[in-house]
């Protein structure tokens, strides 16, 4: 008996099936990468010991229920906040806990403002009626102030900006000594520690 060739399978509907699957995946999955401002909340401490902080080392930012900004008891526009925060943090009017002067600060060395970046604290207060959008804008400006100072410091110390250093550290394909980079990043972080407290 003559061998008969196997009949060809009709693949015309293959495209339809594939389209169906494709559309299913398009609908049920997301591609977005989450991004946002990272913060660390203060832990609840049992001890009621009050740490005494000098008034001049605290930079108070108050957001009221009408989204108005009160910085150090003065009304301020959002666009001026970053510069004011930088001025306060980079002042370096006194010494840190170990009695060292801030030799990398470019501030005015005003004795009535913060002593040292290590001691300077930004305190952000808000009311219940404050809108979240405004709150994030203020947070963003304050983080930007820290980043600006850290970038400047990293640029003068290691010849590249802090943001690039952080990006390189996270990049898997980056060729370089990661341990050394981590050390550098930590050094910058101790030079300008992010002391931003969110009080309720």
């Amino acid at each position: 008996m003559a061998k008969r060739a196997a009949p060809e399978v009709n693949a015309g509907s293959m495209a339809d099936i594939a389209f169906l699957l494709l559309i299913f995946f398009l609908v049920t999955t997301t591609m977005e990468k989450d991004s946002g401002i990272n913060r660390k909340l203060p832990p609840i401490e049992d001890s009621q010991e009050d740490v005494i902080i000098k008034q001049k080392n605290i930079f108070t930012v108050l957001l009221n229920g009408k989204d108005q900004l009160l910085v150090e008891d003065e009304l301020m526009e959002l666009k001026d906040l970053r510069a004011a925060a930088v001025k306060f943090l980079d002042n370096g009017g006194g010494t840190d806990v170990n009695g060292n002067r801030c030799d990398y600060c470019h501030g005015l060395k005003d004795p009535s403002s913060s002593d040292h970046p290590d001691k300077a604290i930004i305190s952000l207060k808000n009311e219940r009626k404050t809108s979240y959008g405004t709150y994030i804008s203020v947070q963003n400006e304050l983080v930007a102030a820290y980043n600006e100072l850290r970038n400047k410091r990293a640029q003068s110390q290691y010849g590249e900006s802090f943001i690039t250093m952080q990006k390189n550290y996270k990049d898997v394909n980056w060729k370089g000594n990661k341990e050394k980079l981590k050390e550098k990043i930590n050094q910058i972080k101790t030079d300008y520690p992010q002391k931003l407290s969110e009080v309720q």
Binding site: M14, G36, I37, N38
Partner: protein, 158 residues
Amino acid sequence: MSKFKKKKGGGLPAINTASLPDIVFMLLFFFMVATVMRDNSLMIDNSLPSASEVEKLEKKNLVMYIYIGKPSRNYKKKYGTEARIQLNDKFAEVSDVAAFIAAERASKREEEIPFLITSLKVDKKANMGIVGDVKQELRKVNALKINYASIKGDVSRN
């Protein structure tokens, strides 16, 4: 003379679609690899604020999401127009946050727990009162690493 007769009358030849499935499969595989499954369907309005100093959240499986915002149109009648919390597919109260965090922690491996981050996806029109309550609740259960989810952009759009 019939030897030179044209084989067929005009008309366009059919386009060969044999490679269409291959193309579609290629697209399919791209989407399967590059995307992740949507895990919650939102019942609230959630337009995130913009900020310029954003950092990316790297490990998606180590992120817990808390959504806050006004109930969306379909739920307005039942749940009102005041901003509310959504945890995993349902509306929740501030007091449910602790239980939610505990459940999320229990579902993760022990060595991953210190690296868990809580991402607060809050609508920009919500007020800080409810966000403050949630933050306080997070402090109580010692989930201190948080992330204010925001889109990279200029703050003037908030």
